[in-house]
């Protein structure tokens, strides 16, 4: 079906006609390798400044930011859920039990459809990597992160980020992202700039977004 009307051949012929002689795959790869990439690739901040930068960026997006020591993740999560008035959260597969405080319901949302997720009070996830400079958290389809729908349909997202998962620059984050998995970069709660170019919080994605930074 893709080329039932010969459009594929027509487009490729037209491109070739416009560009002239085609080069070998090796020559193209060699040319690609010569592209100048003198932009900053690795950051220069020490750990404490890096965490501060990440925190500032998140706050600027109007996300909630909390810090926890490795042994107190559970307590901090309990505190946040209490202050948000939540009774429990949905979770993806792979969330360690030491994150989960007693007295709250945590249901593995594996295979839940959108209607069921829509009724959940929120979602708790980990992340693949976080970027301090842009205040971004990257989720992939992997344990502790799950399918993309999980961090999308519930109105509240609580994300646990370990300090050693935070890099300073966007290029650094790419070394830790698996390129073919479904991936979402999340930078603050859902927002829009469509009315008078001003960022307005809270459209279709989670309107409430909290991050727990676990200092190692």
């Amino acid at each position: 079906m893709p080329d039932s009307n010969g459009h594929r051949a027509a487009i490729l012929d037209s491109i070739r006609h416009a560009l002239g002689k085609r080069e070998s795959d090796e020559a193209i790869a060699a040319e690609y390798a010569t592209i100048t990439r003198s932009y900053t690739r690795t950051g220069s901040l020490d750990r404490e400044h890096l965490l501060d930068l990440f925190t500032d960026r998140l706050l600027e997006y109007d996300a909630g930011v909390y810090r926890a020591a490795p042994g107190s993740i559970r307590d901090v999560i309990a505190e946040i859920l209490t202050s948000r008035g939540k009774h429990g959260l949905a979770i993806p597969l792979g969330i360690p039990t030491e994150w989960l405080p007693a007295g709250f319901a945590f249901d593995v949302a594996e295979g839940w459809d959108a209607y069921r997720l829509d009724k959940a009070e929120g979602i708790l996830t980990g992340c693949a990597v976080a970027i301090a400079e842009t205040g971004s958290i990257v989720l992939q389809n992997a344990p502790q992160q799950g399918a993309r729908i999980l961090s999308l349909v519930p109105d509240y997202h609580l994300c646990v980020v370990f300090a050693d998962q935070i890099v300073e620059t966007v290029p650094e984050s790419f070394a830790r992202i698996q390129p073919t998995l479904p991936t979402t970069f999340i930078s603050g709660p859902s927002a829009t700039a469509d009315i008078e170019m001003t960022r307005i919080k809270g459209v279709h994605g989670p309107r409430f977004f909290d991050v727990v930074i676990v200092t190692v």
Binding site: M1, P2, D3, N5, H7, R8, A10, I11, L12, S14, I15, R16, A18, L19, R22, D25, I28, E31, Y32, I35, T36, R37, S38, Y39, T40, G111, A114, Y115, D118, E133, T134, N141, A147, R148, I149, L152, V153, S173, F174, P179, T180, L181, P182, T183, F185, S187, P189, S190, A191, T192, A193, D194, I195, E196, M197, R199, G202, V203, H204, G205
Partner: protein
């Protein structure tokens, strides 16, 4: 109505000077456009200035896109292979009609009466919504700005913020009417909530979604989409079937190249360090997202642009719209004057080329050539250079026709060239001018009115009269006087 007629009613109805004249009378729209573009320009400047390596990012972005365009077929075929391997279906469409035919066919195969859409200017370009409507399929725009446009039966005026020409009071009035919400508040948050409630049920229910794409990634066969609201993620994740229509120039060689564009595009487009959501995926992933994924690769006039080495850079565009926001012409007219999905400076070079120079011929002139667009472009498209190049093309094409050859304009220009090319002829013309202007010069030394085709100049400005003695005449006199003294 045929497909081409549907499009014709939507775009390219008038040339720029005529359309601009009307829009300049609309003071409310001008106020909205100026306010929004000022806000976004200030935000952009702040987040661009804080990056010490901004120029390096621009240069790398330029090189990646220029390299890709030089080998476009290679990368498209690589994308096709990888996307297919990942379970996606790749379709090719030479023109708007084929793209619409493919998409309509897929929608009908799934017996969908409604589809949800993420903002895609490519679908505006091919006139997809009208095609769907005519065949009994209702497209629902989910991007807030596109929803505003759809409910208001309006046209996009800006390809990043299509409803930039509408202010929040106008949006509120429209939502009150169209969503039947008489008590809707006027805070921006109220409007966002209204859109959330209006669309929520539709996301959960509708099974077919249509998107565009910011980047096609050749080495993984993946697609990348940047957005803010989460409406994109809803469309990309919830439905069973996803169809993405993407221009062939949107391809990049490698996933790693995103490390450049994910820095330059958000900062240039919305003045944010990062927009709230970026999604990337490859084909289908069991248990995550649609069960069926189609990409429609659209040419629609793009491939012939590659042949023009000077204008080829037009296709490097990543659609950030920074050039619109900074353009003094766009500031005054807004986007509708361009009569194209792609307005502003980039639209002024892209639109005529996409139309084989048969439409939008006045657009290369819709610029003061101030160069601000080039300065802000995150992939360094030299828009002023391409504007001048296209002006040349328009002129040469006009000169090749009988009417063009014997037009007053062409004769005037030829005459001017003839006079300027020889010193004696120029001197003669100067003397003629000094005499001929006499009846036109007012007491203040200005010419306020000129006859015939010259009247255009004096319509909006006075012309300083030629002095009794030109510089060249003065020089000649001085020079010969000096010689005499020396001797």
């Amino acid at each position: 109505m045929s497909e081409s007629e549907v499009q014709a009613t939507q775009w390219n109805r008038r040339e720029f000077p005529e359309a601009a004249k009307d829009l300049l009378q609309d003071s409310q729209t001008r106020k909205n456009v100026q306010h929004a573009t000022n806000v976004i320009q200030a935000k952009r400047k702040r987040v661009v200035d804080e990056l010490a390596d901004w120029e390096e990012l621009r240069e790398s972005g330029r090189q990646v896109k220029a390299h890709t365009l030089r080998h476009l077929d290679h990368y498209l075929m690589q994308f096709e292979e990888q996307c297919t391997r990942a379970g996606g279906h790749v379709h090719w469409a030479s023109d708007a009609a084929e793209a619409n035919r493919i998409i309509l066919g897929l929608v009908q195969k799934h017996e969908a009466k409604e589809v949800i859409k993420i903002k895609t200017m490519t679908s505006e370009e091919v006139g997809l919504n009208a095609q769907l409507e005519q065949n009994g399929v209702h497209p629902i725009e989910t991007d807030l700005a596109e929803l505003i446009i759809q409910l208001g039966k309006d046209r996009p005026s800006h390809f990043v913020a299509p409803a930039l020409h509408v202010n929040k009071q106008q949006v509120r009035a429209m939502f009150q009417r169209e969503m039947n919400l008489p008590d809707l508040g006027d805070k921006p948050e109220d409007l966002a909530t209204a859109a959330r409630n209006y669309l929520r049920e539709k996301y959960l229910r509708i099974k077919v979604a249509i998107s565009g794409g910011n980047f096609l990634i050749a080495d993984t066969g993946g697609v990348c989409i940047l957005e803010s609201e989460g409406n994109g993620r809803m469309c990309l994740t919830l439905p069973d079937v996803l169809i993405s229509i993407v221009g062939i120039e949107k391809i990049i060689p490698s996933f790693r190249d995103l490390e450049i564009f994910l820095q330059t595009l958000p900062r240039s487009a919305t003045g944010e360090r990062m927009n709230p959501y970026n999604s990337t995926w490859c084909g289908v992933h069991p248990g995550d997202g649609p069960k069926e994924f189609h990409v429609v690769l659209l040419d629609n006039g793009r491939s012939p642009i590659l042949a023009d080495k000077e204008a080829r850079q037009t296709l490097q565009c990543i659609r950030c719209a920074a050039c619109l926001n900074v353009c003094p012409v766009y500031h005054q007219t807004g986007g509708h004057a361009y009569e194209s999905v792609y307005a502003g400076p980039i639209g002024a070079i892209l639109t005529p080329q996409l139309n084989s120079m048969e439409a939008g011929r006045s657009l290369p002139y819709a610029s003061s050539l101030c160069g601000a667009c080039y300065e802000v472009c995150p992939v360094k498209i030299n828009i002023p250079e391409v504007l001048i190049h296209l002006r040349g093309k328009v002129v040469r094409e006009d000169q090749a026709t009988f009417a063009g050859k014997f037009s007053l304009w062409n004769i005037g220009m030829k005459t001017a060239a003839f006079l300027f090319e020889d010193a004696d002829r120029l001197a003669m013309a100067e003397r003629f001018g000094q005499i001929a202007q006499k009846p036109l010069v007012s007491k203040n030394g200005f010419i306020e009115w000129m006859p015939f085709m010259l009247s255009g100049w004096t319509q909006t400005r006075d012309l300083k009269a030629m002095p009794a003695q030109s510089f060249r005449q003065w020089w000649a006199e001085e020079h010969s006087a000096k010689k005499e003294t020396d001797a």
